[in-house]
Symmetry: C2
Subunit: 203 residues, 2 copies
DNA sequence: TAAAATTTTTAACATTTGTTAAAATTATTC
DNA sequence: GAATAATTTTAACAAATGTTAAAAATTTTA
C-alpha cells in the first residue's frame, strides 16, 4: 500500500510500472530471486470498479499495482472509512489475511482500469523458507508497509483535515479530480459537508 | 509493541517474561537461532520514568520488555498523543529508526520499574543475512507489529471513546489504576475533561 | 499527620462538526 | 443536446467536544 508514485505522467499519459520494479521498490533483489518471484506471479487486467479484496473473504495473495488506481477502505454496518489510495508501484495486501489465512479488515477496489500482478501466497511462503534473499525482501516489505501505515496514522493524528487536504492538492492534483469527494472526505476523517466547507474556504 | 500480555498476575505479583519467550512470541525459533539472538542482547534494569526512545534521536536498537510497563507516544510542539501501552512480552521499537537509521516518530518511556532486553540492530542485520530462520523471524516480527498497529488504528476509527474505555476497563483493570488519566485520554483520542465525563457516566 | 503538590472532576461557555434536506452543479445516457 | 442521474454545495439546526478555570479529591513529602 502507499500512494507514493504516479498514475499519470506529466503529459497525462498512463504510468505503467514493471513487476520487477514493484519488487525492487522495497529492496534490492538479485536477478535469480526476481525470476523466482516472477514465476509465482500472474498478470491480471482489471476493469474500473473491480473488487480485489473483501474484508469478509480470505484473500491471502499479494497484489502489485502496475497501472491504475486503487482505494483501500474499512467498512462497518453504518460506515465506510477510506484508509488509502494506491498508485502504480504500490502493493495491495490484506496483511491479516496474508499472515493468518483468515479474513482481514480491508476492502480494496480499483477506481480505474488497472493492471495488477498477483503473487501466490503459498508459493511465496515456500520461497521464504528456501531463499534467504526473498525472506529478507519479505521482511523489508512488511517493515516498509508498517512505516507507511505509521505515517498515515501520524498525519491523521497531528494534521487538520484542511492541512491534509492542502497536502493532497499539492502532491496529487491529478487524483483529486478523479476521486469522489465522499471518498476523500472519509480519507481525511470528516464528513463530506465539512470537506465542502474546506473547499469553499469557509474554514 | 502491543499491550497484549500481563504486568501483574492474578495475585498482583509482577510478571516477568524470559527473553526467549519474547522471541517466540512472534514465531517458533530453533534453539541455535535463539542462542544467536541472545548473544547480541543485553539485559537492562530500568527505573520508573526512564526514557528508552526519543523521537529526535536515532534509536536503531530493539527492546523487549521482560517486566514493567511502557508508554509509546508522539509529540509535537503543542500536543502529545499516546499511541500504545506495552506490557511484558511486548516489543519496544521505533520502526523508522530501526529500518532507516534516522530519527523516528515515537517516544517511549517506562511507567514502572522495568526489565528490558536490548538487541543490537547492526548485529541483528548481520544475522538476517546469514541465518534464514532469523530472517523469517524478523519478517514475522514486522508483519505482526503491522497487524497490531492496524488493530489499534481500526479501533480508534470505528469505536467511540466510551467503548474503547470500557474495553480497557474490562481487559486491563490493573493498568487503569496506575496510569494518569491524561495519558489514557490521549490514547483514547479525547480531552481529559471528556474522559472524566465518560467516567462520570454523564455521556 | 499536616502541608504541599499533583491529579481528577465539575461547571460554563464557545466552537466545531455532523445531520438532514434542498438547491445547484456536473456528468451520463438516450 | 435535452433529459436523467449522480455529485457537490449550501443552509439551518442540533449535538458533541474542547477550552479555561476553579473546586474537589488524592497522593506525596516533610
Amino acid at each position: 500500500m502507499g500512494w507514493g508514485n504516479f498514475t499519470f505522467g506529466k503529459m497525462g499519459e498512463k504510468v505503467v510500472i514493471s513487476l520487477a520494479d514493484c519488487f525492487q521498490g522495497y529492496h534490492f533483489l538479485n536477478p535469480l530471486s526476481i525470476d523466482r518471484l516472477e514465476q509465482i506471479s500472474e498478470k491480471l487486467i482489471c476493469k474500473r470498479n473491480s473488487v480485489l479484496i473483501r474484508q469478509d473473504k480470505i484473500q491471502k495473495d499479494i497484489y502489485f499495482l502496475a497501472s491504475g488506481l486503487a482505494r483501500v477502505y474499512y467498512e462497518t454496518a453504518d460506515r465506510q472509512i477510506t484508509l488509502d489510495f494506491v498508485s502504480p508501484g504500490g502493493t495491495l495486501i490484506s496483511m491479516n489475511s496474508y499472515v493468518h489465512d483468515t479474513p482481514g479488515y480491508e476492502n480494496i477496489d480499483l477506481l480505474e482500469d488497472s493492471i495488477v500482478y498477483k503473487i501466490d501466497q503459498k508459493k511465496l511462503f515456500m520461497l521464504y523458507e528456501s531463499d534467504i534473499a526473498i525472506a529478507n525482501w519479505g521482511r523489508k516489505m512488511a517493515e516498509l508497509e508498517f512505516i507507511k501505515a505509521e505515517q498515515r496514522t501520524m498525519s491523521k493524528l497531528f494534521n487538520t483535515a484542511q492541512e491534509r487536504y492542502a497536502e493532497l492538492l499539492e502532491k496529487y492534483p491529478q487524483y483529486i479530480q478523479r476521486i469522489k469527494l465522499g471518498y476523500i472526505a472519509s480519507y481525511l476523517g470528516v464528513s463530506q459537508v465539512t470537506l465542502s466547507r474546506i473547499r469553499a474556504n469557509i474554514l
